[in-house]
């Protein structure tokens, strides 16, 4: 009786092992997660859109149209993000505006 039970248990173990092997082979390796990391640029872009910063910059442009005629605030914002603000352009724009108003 005990021998029969042991034989059944061994068979069951074998069955489970075979089934597990089949499952491992059949289950697809495709996963939803992508390997590429999310760059900080895309995070900033999504935050800009979420907080509506672009419309703020457009609105801000209206206040200084007559001073910074040749300075685009969008470009200034992009250069501020990268840390490459050209002070010379800003100062030249101001000087040009003063010259325009004086003469």
């Amino acid at each position: 009786m005990l021998k029969i039970k042991n034989k059944q248990l061994v068979n069951l173990k074998l069955l489970i092992t075979i089934l597990s092997f089949i499952c491992i082979c059949i289950i697809p390796h495709d996963v939803q997660a992508s390997e590429e990391t999310i760059s900080s640029e895309s995070i900033m872009k999504s935050q800009q859109e979420a907080l509506n910063i672009n419309s703020f910059i457009q609105e801000a442009d209206k206040y200084t149209q007559d001073v910074y005629e040749d300075l685009d605030m969008g470009e200034l914002f992009t250069s501020a993000i990268t840390g490459n603000i050209d002070n010379g352009t800003i100062i030249n724009s101001i000087l040009r505006a003063i010259r325009r108003r004086s003469f």
């Binding site: 995070i43 900033m44 935050q47 907080l51 703020f56 910059i57 200084t64 200034l76 800003i90």
Partner: protein, 289 residues
């Protein structure tokens, strides 16, 4: 200024002629005519510059009212919740208060002071020069007190709350990294990346804001500085030929433009300091991480 100098030269010639005739009545009449002409010319400049100042202060307040909510939102996204909640009411209140205070109280006070100064120069009998000076010095004092209060309040509250924000965020990150199994560390790093990006955006927005504030105030400030210089130069040039009252009138107008220049400079500096402090407060909170 050229027309004012021409009037002064003509008056000095007429004065010499009337003194030669020994007729004091004619000399007095020519003085009054000259005075009215000079004051009319000065008032044209004055009205124009007053309009420019009012417009630029309104633009500044309008722009700050659209900049501060975005900066505060970006502050919250960097985790500076306590600082944002403390600073937002102070800054928004002070900006609105300053705009209304300057257009409703300070500028009228300067106008009263200028009018009293002009009236006191008409004749030696009417002397209200001290009252005019009192109004002018009170304007400068009030501006100084408002500037000090604003900067002091924002910097003290900001430095206190930024420490709280920094430590809270650090604790939260440590808890996420340790208590969430397997992905805790990745989650903590992702939060740090997002906060870092928000901080960059906040700093960039602040810089654009400061450039725009400078753009709004630069032309009025240059105009006021030039006018102030012209009136002081005019009074210096006219001193040898003109009446002493006319010289002090030109000096008085130079002082008035100097007061307007002080108003514009202090308001713009106040707003620039406000924006810089908002940027700096949440940046110092980030240092704790």
């Amino acid at each position: 200024m050229a027309s004012i100098i021409v009037i002064i030269v003509i008056h000095s010639i007429l004065k010499n002629i009337s003194e030669g005739l020994e007729n004091k009545g004619i000399a007095q009449i020519t003085y009054y005519v000259q005075y009215i002409l000079i004051v009319t010319l000065m008032m044209t400049n004055f009205a124009q510059i007053l309009e420019v100042i009012k417009e630029s202060i309104q633009s500044l307040v309008g722009f700050m009212n659209s900049l501060i909510p975005i900066l505060i939102t970006l502050m919250i996204t960097t985790g500076s919740v306590v600082s944002a909640n403390l600073i937002q009411p102070i800054i928004l209140f002070v900006i609105t208060f300053i705009g209304n205070f300057i257009t409703g109280i300070i500028i009228p006070l300067v106008l009263i002071s200028t009018s009293l100064g002009i009236v006191s120069k008409i004749s030696d009998k009417v002397q209200i020069d001290k009252l005019s000076k009192f109004f002018k010095s009170s304007v400068v004092w009030v501006l100084g007190v408002v500037l000090t209060l604003f900067v002091g309040l924002v910097s003290i509250e900001g430095s206190l709350s930024s420490s709280v924000d920094g430590i809270t965020a650090k604790t939260a990150k440590a808890a996420v990294s340790s208590f969430i199994p397997v992905v805790g560390k990745i989650l903590g790093d992702a939060v740090d990346t997002v906060i870092g990006c928000s901080s960059i955006l906040k700093n960039a927005t602040g810089i654009v804001g400061i450039v725009i504030i400078i753009g709004i105030v630069v032309l009025p400030i240059v105009k006021l500085a030039v006018l102030m210089g012209i009136y002081y130069l005019g009074s210096a040039l006219c001193q040898p030929i003109a009446d002493s009252k006319i010289v002090s009138l030109l000096d008085q107008m130079g002082d008035t433009f100097k007061t307007f220049l002080a108003i514009m400079c202090s308001v713009s500096v106040m707003f620039i300091i406000g924006v810089t402090l908002v940027i700096k407060i949440s940046n110092s909170g980030m240092m704790y991480r």
